[in-house]
Amino acid sequence: MNAKEIIAKRVAKELSDGDLVNLGIGLPTLVANYIDPSIDVHLQSENGLIGLGPSPNPGEEDKHLTNAGGQFVTLKDHGMYFDSVTSFSIIRGGHVDVTVLGALEVDEEGSLASWIIPKKLVPGMGGAMDLVVGAKKVIVATTHTNKDKPKIKTRCHLPLTAYQEVDLIVTELAVMEVRDDGLHLIEYHPSTTIEEVLSLTEAPLHISEAKPMEGTNHE
């Protein structure tokens, strides 16, 4: 299991039966592959659908049926389409249970930077700001470091996507909860140690509840 798979599988465990979930572009999309098949999780794509199904078979793509990353997708039974206004009413109105998205930086207060590196990369925030503000639970799914530099900071330095909205951070090494007193390391991957996690994290971590991560080791 590579880093992305570990993260996706661990995030999937956070989802409950009946949840409405938005999975961001890239790594978060992989979470769909690990959802417990015994529960019903409804995936929203903010460009206008609930009930995101698997990728279409080659040759069966429909140019009018894409996800928010522009990839061809399918719609499950009981799914439906709606416009952008309705989509963001669902998002901003608190009707999304969980949103999962990547990060450039995330900090111990739960603030997130994910949309811009000034003068280098200016793609725009798309729907991320609304998702992070509106969803009941915000999960950041990211590699623990970027070229060995910590992504989990005491304070974000890049322009924010949202201030103090992140609830949980899942990396290939650790699961951290954002609480009022800072970040709590609640799980670490069996291939690492608490000490290593601390050394790769800029933000201080509370470690009293740290346990090994289950079910993500070489399965």
């Binding site: 460009n47 389409y81 416009d83 952008s84 206004v85 901003r92 200016v122 925030m125 201030y163």
Partner: protein, 215 residues
């Protein structure tokens, strides 16, 4: 179909300096033929309002590549490197707006509202220069209504009056843009006799002109 419009009449609507809303999400649901006609018309100094900057050779990206756009209001420009380049060079003013805020600003205009209060963008660069209003301990940004001279939308089918339905996720910004421009032109790929009155997405009263391009 009283509202039917041909290429020549469409081009006569266009003027330098216009603000044009264009439907579509990463070009899914963008009326490509109408964009092509805008390109052919040679109009310039356009303000484009669209979810994103399209691709260099698709959607509103074609207008950016051809340097017809001086201002772009969008939520995302990452798929069109020309947009970023022209922005860096100072040739294109880009206003990046959170996608949900953009949708609400356009909706507000179409619904006769002056604006809306949203929590999105608080304590980020989005709040710069905007009025903040606090209601019951929650602070919001005041975001103003956003309309345009022209809206170019793509619909899946129209009836004789212009009632419209959309195809799957090609719906996206098209219905709300149909409410928020002085003149609304719909590119449709099908004319149908009737639409179930429970399933009309855009009532005919929003659509001024219809370009029929059967596939």
């Amino acid at each position: 179909m009283k509202k039917r419009m041909d290429e020549k009449a469409f081009k006569a609507l266009l003027k330098d300096g216009q603000s044009i809303m264009v439907g579509g999400f990463m070009t899914c649901g963008t009326p490509e033929t109408l964009i092509d006609w805008v390109l052919e018309s040679k109009v310039r100094d356009l303000t484009i309002i669209c979810n994103d900057a399209g691709y260099p050779d698709r959607g509103v990206g074609k207008l950016i590549t051809a340097r017809r756009v001086t201002k772009l209001i969008a939520s995302h420009i990452g798929l069109n490197p020309h947009a970023g380049e022209q922005m860096s060079q100072g040739d294109l003013a880009v206003e990046l707006i959170p996608q949900g805020t953009l949708a609400e600003q356009i909706r507000a205009y179409g619904a006769g509202l002056g604006g809306i209060l949203t929590p999105t963008g608080l304590k980020t660069v989005v709040e710069e220069g905007k009025q903040k209003i606090t209601i019951k301990d929650q602070t919001y940004l005041l975001e103003m209504a956003l309309g345009a001279d022209l809206a170019l939308i793509e619909v899946a089918a129209c009836d004789a009056l212009g009632n419209a339905v959309y195809a799957k996720t090609a719906r996206n910004f098209n219905p709300v843009m149909a409410t928020a421009a002085h003149t609304v032109v719909a590119l449709t790929h099908q004319r149908v006799a009737d639409i179930d009155p429970e399933c009309v997405v855009t009532p005919h009263v929003f659509i001024d002109h219809i370009v029929l391009e059967e596939v």
